[in-house]
Amino acid sequence: MTDVKTTTEPLLSIRDLRTYFHMGSVTARSVDGVSFDVGAGETVGIVGESGCGKSVTALSILRLIQPPGRIEPGSVIAFEGKDLVTLGDEEIRNVRGNRISMIFQEPMSALNPVFTVGDQVAEVARIHAGVSRKEAWNRAVEALSLTGIPAPGDRAKQYPHQLSGGMRQRVLIAMALMMKPALVIADEPTTALDVTIQAQILDLLVGLQKQFGTSILMITHDLGVIAETTSRVIVMYAGEIVEQAAVDELFAKPHHPYTEGLMFAMPHIGRDQERLNVIPGTVPAPTAWPVGCRFRERCPYSWDLCEREHPPLYQIGAGHISRCHLAIEPERRNHPHPPLVVQEGAAA
């Protein structure tokens, strides 16, 4: 899975996506100039902490951004020969749930409590395939059985509250796969689930992806989930992509200090560590990103250049890019210093 698929025409191609939230006098630049591709059949991961812009990126692709949020003019989301940003309302609805579908984090709130799960899965087929009620129901039961729900015919007649968290997530997956979409966006699909149920769901997603050749955009804060399910990883920080690489390369040779920090901040089973590595401070507010490098104040390597110049995405290796000036002065990595933020926890 190491090869980065470089088909002539990527399935999804995002260029300079900027999604801003205009709140009176301040503007939150939640997604601030993001560009990446997803190839056909590829699983791409987006990883980052809360507030980095990964979920807003996902919602922007399906144009699910509500005012005061807005996709800024000049942003391009090319998908199957169309620019989703400029698509009419009718046309974007034809894409949603049909060519691109989404799996949300919280399966309970993503389902309507007053309809049976079968009705809700069937509705997708009613909307996009225009089939009869009976046919839609049959397809729904079939989709539910694909996701490994036992006795799908009976389960389809139940309401969301009668199902466990894992079962509800399977229902959402059935809805997402109903129309055999080209792309599935999974936004923290297992975060609300217990670990053994998470294993079931990830196993299911990977299996279905192999079976149907669907592309998956996996959005998560969990590097473990990224390592186990994706072939290429995008690391986001402060509304920007800070690093992108094939999954093996990223874990073996993380370049950006933020990626590195994330990896060492996590305890690993079987790794003996006295203390965990800490990234001091917190993600800055999207209304006031720092000038220069946005990670500068939390970074152990930063120097004057980082304050002066916002780093571009440097090419590090084949398919490996990083938004860090260390690319041009690599020897500075050997001389870490305490980060600038004198912040909670640094002293403790």
Binding site: S50, Q200, L223, G224, I226, L276, A348
Partner: protein, 355 residues
């Protein structure tokens, strides 16, 4: 420094059941066994981790020990004192020595009190300091948990999740407890912030010789911080061992599945995993015999597992597990055969469970 000569906390046969009520006047129609016959000791200075999935009873056990919910039966001894026998006055006094830190950094702080008032409350209740002395103590506590002392006049909503968690820690420390029950203290936090709070807890433990009961669903966090780990499933402890033993040699099939399910942040280490079938059964209607038997993958699983309640017994020195198919066991093969057993116990440790 762990002192194993006498336990700080000793829990025996702890049970907590919640009635299931129905109808206009809440007639009891059944009971959920949230904690079902749980026994363990915690030595002074040690960290006992408690892991398991939701519905396992970890949180209920933690709160029952503090009598924040009344245990149904069993005994809880803190430094030899019987916690269950205490009256209101005695309970208030002992709560000075046992504290709790919560998971949710939002709901665990009163939105209408300043940070200073929140931290000061324990000092006032237990008459530890007053007036200027209390102010000074609050500032000192804030600095100890890595916050600025000026924060005392602010309100909780002005702080991030990690900072709120630090405030919760300062509140618990204010009464100088010996034992702190940490109930999922980092699971609501981002990875980098999580590391900050874990390091803080470890530093405080070293400086003050604190004892922790660390409840979490994240197995890697627990391995990092705990000396010993108890695994709970459907209200029971199914395995209890030192952290090294448990993660190197998990004996209870549930622990094996749990460990194998953790996604590993290393693509080079992709491996086989044990995928459990089905969901956790309802604690209102737990399976007979071994509560894990319907989902169990042990090759020797048979009828006996559904009939015999497995005792939590020593499989190796200091390593307890509840499984009649994992030798050695005091449930003899004859007894198992009488209960319909057809496969004799055999040692089973799948490679997928070992990290």
């Amino acid at each position: 420094m762990i002192d194993t000569s006498a336990p700080l906390l000793s829990v025996r046969n702890l049970k907590k059941s919640f009635p299931i009520k129905k109808g206009v006047f809440g007639r009891q129609v059944g009971a959920v066994q949230a904690v079902n016959d749980v026994s363990f000791d915690v030595a002074p200075g040690e960290t006992l981790g408690i892991v398991g999935e939701s519905g396992g009873g970890k949180t209920t056990a933690g709160r029952a020990i503090l009598r924040l919910i009344e245990p149904t039966s069993g005994s809880i001894k803190f430094e030899g004192r019987d916690v269950c026998a205490l009256d209101t006055r005695g309970l208030r006094a002992i709560r000075r020595e046992m504290q709790i830190i919560f998971q949710d950094p939002v709901s665990s702080l009163n939105p209408r009190m300043t940070i200073g008032a929140i931290i000061r409350e324990g000092l006032i209740i237990h008459k530890l300091a007053q007036g200027a002395a209390a102010d000074a103590r609050v500032k000192q506590l804030l600095e100890e948990v890595g916050l600025r002392k000026e924060y005392a006049t602010r309100y909780p909503h002005e702080f991030s999740g990690g900072q709120r968690q630090r405030i919760g820690v300062a509140r618990a420390l204010s009464v100088e407890p010996k034992l702190i029950i940490c109930d999922e203290p980092v699971s609501a936090l981002d990875v980098s912030v999580q590391a900050q709070v874990i390091n803080l807890l470890q530093d405080l433990q070293r400086e003050r010789n604190l004892t922790y009961m660390f409840i979490a669903h994240d197995l890697s966090v627990v391995e990092h911080i705990a000396n010993r780990v108890a695994v709970m499933y459907l209200g029971k402890i199914v395995e209890l061992a030192t952290s090294e033993d448990l993660y190197r040699e998990p004996l209870m099939p549930y622990t094996q599945a749990l460990l194998s399910a953790v996604p590993v942040a290393d693509p080079a280490a992709r491996k086989e995993r044990i995928i459990l079938q089905g969901d956790v059964p309802s604690p209102a209607n737990p399976p007979s015999g071994c509560v894990f038997h319907p989902r169990c993958h042990h090759p020797a699983k048979d009828e006996a597992c559904s009939r015999i309640v497995p005792p939590l017994e020593e499989k190796a020195p200091g390593h307890l597990a509840a499984c009649i198919k994992q030798p050695p066991t005091i449930v003899s093969w004859e007894q198992q055969q009488q209960a319909g057993g057809v496969r004799p116990p055999e040692r089973y440790l799948p490679i997928a469970a070992v990290h």
